[in-house]
């Protein structure tokens, strides 16, 4: 006997989380790439362990180091088999931003029934390509400009002025990480922000979660 279940989606509405990760050569120093890999791995594990969600968290990772690659195709967190990123090459951030914009605009991959995506940009250095064109295109995109956008500057050499333009909430601004612990701290904040959205009455609303930048604190 037929029921409505046959004609309707069997998964909750998606909430995409798209990480743009700087994997340029400088990220291979001071355990930065190791910390980033672990932080993203922990974030994915946390998403998988969340219960009672009103949205299905999906994750994609776009790396930019020498070339731009889709390190992880957009997919539900629960099926992700994480493979570590490696660091090498320049910093083609503009091309990475363009790739992210194309992904957000693709209604085949992120349908209209999805909640607003979260975009996370992480970098430790200066872009080595035309980042302005890529950023302008992202901010002009109807869908991408509606995304929640967070940025983290790793170390003292990151292009903070550029990252500020990427971030969507000027009250939050750019996060700064100077060591592995702070990198993990930032991604715990991202995890909590996304998880809170998936449990709220309207997952499109950005929760107001204060960021505690004390890496020794057990609170986010």
């Amino acid at each position: 006997m037929a029921t409505l279940k046959e004609f309707t989606h069997t998964e909750p509405r998606p909430l995409p989380v798209i990480i743009l990760a700087d994997v340029s050569g400088s990220m291979s120093t001071e355990s930065k790439i190791g910390a980033l890999n672990q932080a993203i791995r922990d974030m994915i594990t946390s998403f998988v362990n969340e219960e009672d969600l009103r949205a299905q968290i999906q994750v994609a990772v776009i790396t930019f180091g020498g070339a731009v690659r889709i390190h992880l195709e957009l997919q539900p967190a629960k099926i992700i088999q994480w493979g570590d990123m490696s660091a090498d090459g320049g910093t083609p951030m503009g091309e990475a931003l363009a790739t992210a914009t194309a992904l957000v605009e693709d209604k085949g991959k992120i349908p209209s029934r999805a909640y607003r995506p979260t975009l996370v940009l992480v970098s430790d250095g200066q872009p080595t390509d035309d980042w302005k064109t890529g950023l302008d295109k992202l901010l002009a995109s109807e869908r991408a400009k509606k995304s929640d956008r967070f940025a983290m500057a790793i170390g003292a050499d990151a292009d903070e002025a550029m990252l500020v333009q990427f971030a969507s909430d000027p009250n939050i601004g750019v996060f700064h990480a100077n060591d592995a612990a702070q990198i993990r701290q930032f991604f715990r904040f991202i995890t909590m922000s996304v998880a809170t959205r998936t449990k709220s009455k309207d997952p499109n609303q950005t929760p107001n979660i204060p960021f505690n930048d004390n890496p020794d604190s057990i609170e986010i």
Binding site: F7, T8, H9, P12, R13, A114, D202, N204
Partner: protein, 272 residues
């Protein structure tokens, strides 16, 4: 599947050819209307139930000498008086239709303009931006024609013997719960609308995005056909009860939104 091209208003109003609806023959007025069936309901979604806030969806059905009017509306959740906006949208459409129905040869865009004006009156004294609501309506004229219009997300869907038809394929929403509505625009170019002949047999559905976004796009015909088969043998009261049960037991996991669904169907033979 045929999708109505959006008609952008200018001084030369364009009307969709009825050719794609298949059978264009029309029954005598009384017989056609006697075979039409309607059912509709709204249910509050889990999010609003948890928060003990009123349902922000609304729907209405009006029967007049010139035909029937179906309308659904979804108040924008972030607005403080979204429930008022949605109810006002439905009443505005009925008021406007009663006026326009007296002058059916007038451009159908007049119907949309009237809806905007009457809506603003009905939400008074609240500001428009506090009452934003989507609006989807269909006017089934007794002479066998139909005018349908949509502002914002949700779905108008028409299934005939050999074709299916919807006004908008989600082009107005970038993401769920992010859409246009009354109170945000007064531009006719933000509406999708179409005028066509109604065949002797059809299934029609108007629904808000709480329903529309979870229906598999390639299973819409089956969804509507299944509901018609289940509802047709029942009494009007039983139909409402069954429809409410289906919406309250919505199968998509994590569903959150208020849900409104209005169905209309017409049988080909009076004996069916």
């Amino acid at each position: 599947m045929k999708i109505a091209d959006p008609i952008h208003f200018n001084t030369d109003t364009k009307r969709i050819s009825p050719a794609d609806t298949g059978d264009n023959s029309c029954l005598p007025l009384g017989k056609a209307r006697a075979m039409r069936r309607f059912v509709g309901t709204s249910v509050c979604g889990p999010a609003h139930i948890d928060l003990n806030v009123p349902c922000q969806d609304a729907w209405m059905l009006g029967r007049y000498s010139f035909g029937e009017v179906l309308v659904v509306s979804d108040g924008m959740g972030s607005r403080p008086h979204a429930d008022i906006g949605a109810k006002a949208a439905c009443r505005a459409v009925l008021h406007a239709a009663k006026l326009w129905g007296m002058h059916p040869e007038a451009p159908p865009t007049n119907m949309i303009k009237l809806t905007h004006h009457i809506w603003r009156l009905l939400i008074h004294p609240y500001p428009q931006e506090d009452c934003v609501a989507t609006c989807i309506f269909a006017i089934l004229l007794a002479r066998g024609k139909m005018f349908a219009a949509q502002l914002g997300d949700g779905l108008f869907y028409l299934k005939t013997c050999d074709s299916s038809y919807c006004l908008s394929e989600g082009r107005d929403a970038d993401f769920t719960n992010e859409t246009i509505g009354l109170g945000l625009t007064t531009s006719l170019s933000d509406w999708h609308f179409a005028e066509m002949s109604l065949p002797t047999s059809f299934n029609m559905m108007l629904c808000t995005d709480g329903v529309a976004d979870d229906i598999l796009p390639d299973r819409r015909a089956d969804f509507v056909g299944y509901l018609r088969e289940e509802l047709d043998p029942l009494s009007p009261r039983q139909r409402v009860s069954l429809l409410r049960r289906e919406l309250n037991n919505w199968p998509t996991p994590g569903h959150n939104d208020d849900k409104t669904l209005v169905l209309a169907w017409q049988k080909e033979k009076a004996s069916e």
